[in-house]
């Protein structure tokens, strides 16, 4: 490393200066994986992921799992589109799911028996552009208030737009829009002689569409449009002073995001062959956001990955108690492994927890056998291992009540854990882990639909506080204005 006499002066030699671009990677072996991935390059990674996705059905993915895959791909597409508005242009759009709905309902109205005598049955290659352009115009309309509104106000207005969409499709013109019963018997996607009627075909279509969309957005990201979007997020005032028409750029972000959402909507509608107002309500929006936040705002790959992970867990894994338990205990152990350093501390905590469990179980069994009569819900290896460790009351009513109390106490314990440090934290960790396993077995594993909602809420809270850039995103530096 030669020192250039014309180069950086006192206090910063070139080697130090070159390190300035060093990025932050995930801890330990995850970071190694990340660096290896980066050496491969973005485009090869996309190609590999796409091929892997296409190969999955051939490797045996079918039936129920295929449907989960389809739903996950739809949410991933939505997250990638939302990333344009929130991640690049920095506009908090809380009504994004309405564009998804517009796409779906638009296609439903144009390609089904719904409107007119026999209905308009436009072929997909006609209705798709119409729907996408319609959504873009709607995006412009929704974005217009953003001219005069600060970020918070925009969030409110878009939130209400999203709610208004559900209200309208639920209550307005039921004969045309189907009301709460929605529109059914939508045409499948057809064109160029092919008709898509099987789940496999929609799966393949979605993988291809997702990959193509991600590619298009990557090309946009480093073009003048992408730079303008990101500049507007960084500092709208400075961007305007540098010739960027801020309002127009914001509107184009809204429009592009809306178009992607509409695209996802049409495929969703065709695959489901029906649309209902409840398909586009706030819980779906929260899922999209959870995926985007988990994966990393601002990163295309992050948005898609995060959404896929969230949906696979939400829709797939958490449906069956056995798989859910594997995930729960697996993730729990993984977190402990990664976070608890040094090894001695980890061993102490785990050992103490195990000991505490057996002791508690034995004591409880001695006092009141009915208190431990119920077995853990998890089957197989985990179930056997937990049999004498976990306390689960035999009577389901008692299990529920005690489980509820346990839940509340667990939250309090977890919050206390956040407060304390050092030795106290290590000590408190032991009963917390045991209690968590108890609450899981006694309550949570029996209520998968509630558990997965709790998980989503927790993801949003924990990610924003501890790792706002998500798993694959980059830390941002915000200048306080």
């Amino acid at each position: 490393m030669s020192i250039d006499p014309q180069g950086p002066k006192v206090g910063a030699d070139e080697w130090v200066a070159r390190q300035g671009h060093r990025r932050e990677y995930l801890p330990s072996w995850l970071g190694h994986a990340q660096r290896a991935g980066e050496r491969v390059g973005w485009w090869p990674r996309l190609a590999i992921a796409g091929l892997a996705g296409l190969a999955l059905p051939l490797l045996g993915l079918g039936g129920f799992q295929l449907q989960v895959g389809i739903d996950a791909l739809v949410i991933a597409l939505l997250a990638v589109g939302l990333n344009i508005v929130v991640g690049w242009a920095g506009l908090l759009d809380l009504g994004y799911v309405a564009f998804f709905g517009c796409g779906a309902y638009g296609y439903a109205l144009l390609s089904s028996p719904q409107l007119g005598a026999n209905g308009i049955h436009l072929p997909y290659w006609l209705s798709l552009p119409i729907v996408m352009i319609g959504a873009a115009l709607l995006g412009l309309a929704v974005g217009l208030p953003s001219r005069r509104l600060l970020g918070d106000y925009l969030a409110i207005v878009t939130l209400f737009f999203g709610e208004a969409f559900v209200e309208v499709t639920n209550n307005v013109a039921p004969s045309k829009l189907g009301g709460p019963n929605g529109i059914t018997t939508i045409d499948p996607i057809s064109g160029f002689g092919i008709q898509l009627t099987t789940n496999e075909s929609y799966y393949y279509l979605l993988v291809i569409v997702l990959v193509v969309t991600m590619a298009v957005l990557r090309l946009l990201e480093y073009s003048r449009t992408g730079r303008a979007w990101r500049a507007v997020r960084e500092d709208p005032l400075a961007a305007a002073a540098m010739t960027i028409p801020v309002n127009r750029v914001k509107l184009s972000a809204f429009a592009c995001g809306a178009m992607v959402a509409a695209l996802a909507g049409t495929i969703f509608a065709a695959q489901q062959a029906s649309v209902f107002p409840t398909d586009f309500d706030t819980p779906i929006l929260i899922l999209i956001y959870a995926g985007l936040i988990l994966g990393g705002i601002g990163s295309i790959a992050g948005a898609a990955t995060g959404a896929l992970v969230v949906m696979v867990i939400y829709d797939g894994v958490l449906r069956s108690p056995a798989e859910a338990s594997i995930l729960f205990y697996g993730l729990g152990l993984l977190t402990l492994l990664v976070k608890l350093r040094p090894w001695r501390r980890l061993a102490v905590v785990l050992g103490a927890t195990v000991a505490l469990g057996f002791a508690a179980h034995a004591i409880a069994a001695a006092i009141a056998p009915s208190a431990v009569a119920g077995g853990p819900q998890s089957t197989g290896l985990i179930g056997d291992g937990l049999q004498d460790w976990i306390i689960v009351p035999g009577n389901p009513q008692t299990a529920q009540t005690v489980g509820n109390f346990g839940f509340v106490v667990l939250i309090c314990l977890a919050l206390t854990l956040v407060q304390v440090k050092g030795r106290w934290r290590t000590i408190l960790l032991v009963p917390t882990i045991y209690l968590a396993a108890f609450v899981w077995e006694a309550r949570l594993v029996n209520e998968p639909s509630i558990t997965r909602q709790l998980m989503i809420g927790a993801i949003l809270i924990v990610m924003m506080i501890s790792r706002p850039q998500g798993l694959l995103g980059q830390r941002r530096v915000e200048v306080a204005t």
Binding site: G151, D152, E163, I293, L454, G457, I461, I465
Partner: protein, 305 residues
């Protein structure tokens, strides 16, 4: 004509409820510049607390204590517990994000809201809990003005609402804490440098705002009878609208906004149909946003370049 006044009374009653929720929402926005999406869910928790108090004392049909005492306990307990919950949420979910860009606490708030709703579902079940107000408060003992009836529950809500709002106005404008709140709302850093304990002020604001939401929750249970984990969402939305229409960050604005929304909703339901009432409320918001973005009583915020 009497129909008009009846609807007006009904509207003012629900409006008072919305005002209380909007007040808490507006106060929190004032000091933290945070749109607390979880605020509506605090209302829901308050409603549940009221329900469980009724159950504790024997249930709606077989109350073991006098009704006034029951009501007192319901309101006080809801205020205290929900206030405490609000403080905990601020302490653990929002405080770490005090200086983060605005988008972060907003998303966290969405997460908190979702988590609260799911927790309520887990702990209290999905079935509707019913207050059965008529069983222990005789609705016929109200006031009759001409052919307009204001039943006792409505009187209770209106009176309590006015008292609380007046009390809050007094607190904010005449007490030291109120002055500190206004200072923190104007410029947090400067307030801190002037010796104001900002953390305490923010905690107090959250406690008060959440307590108001809890009390409103009990009122809602008494008025509308049914309690479930999702009632917070729509009431929260309407309180949002009320706070924004009135001018977010402005206390008189939240009060005015709540009444406007309540009355508008009542008239739309009465004269047109209930299916459109939500849409009309949203419409009011959009119109106000476009014509007067700072709300009816709000003040524009200057930005130094």
């Amino acid at each position: 004509m009497s129909f008009f006044f009846q609807e007006l009374v009904n509207g003012l009653t629900t409006g008072a409820l919305y005002s209380l929720v909007a007040l808490g929402f507006s106060m929190v926005y004032g000091v933290l510049k945070l749109l607390n999406f979880a605020h509506g869910d605090l209302y829901m928790i308050g409603a549940y607390i009221g329900f469980f108090v009724i159950q504790w004392f024997g249930g709606a049909q077989h109350l073991t204590i006098a009704v006034p005492l029951l009501l007192l306990i319901m309101f006080v307990l809801a205020a205290a517990l929900v206030g405490g919950l609000g403080v905990a949420i601020e302490r653990f979910a929002y405080r770490p994000l005090r200086d983060a860009p605005r988008i972060a606490p907003l998303i966290t708030a969405i997460g908190v809201s979702f988590f609260l709703e799911s927790s309520a579902l887990l702990l209290f079940g999905a079935q509707y809990r019913v207050y059965n107000t008529a069983d222990f408060i005789s609705l016929s003992s109200g006031i009759q003005i001409g052919s307009v009836t204001i039943d006792s529950v409505q009187i209770l809500v209106l009176v309590l609402g006015v008292v609380l709002m007046a009390g809050l106005q007094l607190l904010v404008n005449r007490t030291r804490l109120g002055r500190q709140m206004r200072a923190v709302a104007a410029d947090r850093e400067a307030a801190e440098m002037l010796g104001i304990n900002v953390n305490f002020v923010i905690t107090a604001t959250f406690f008060l705002g959440s307590a108001l939401a809890g009390v409103a929750g009990v009122m809602g249970g008494l008025l509308f009878n049914q309690v479930t984990s999702t009632i917070g969402f729509i009431v929260g939305l309407k309180a949002f609208t009320a706070a924004v229409v009135g001018g977010i960050g402005s206390i008189p604005g939240a009060m005015l906004g709540g009444l406007v929304i309540g009355v508008a909703e009542s008239f739309v339901t009465g004269y047109i149909s209930s299916t459109y009432s939500n849409l009309i409320v949203f419409g009011i918001l959009i119109v106000v946003m476009l014509l007067r973005p700072t709300g009816l009583l709000g003040r524009a915020q200057l930005q130094k370049v």
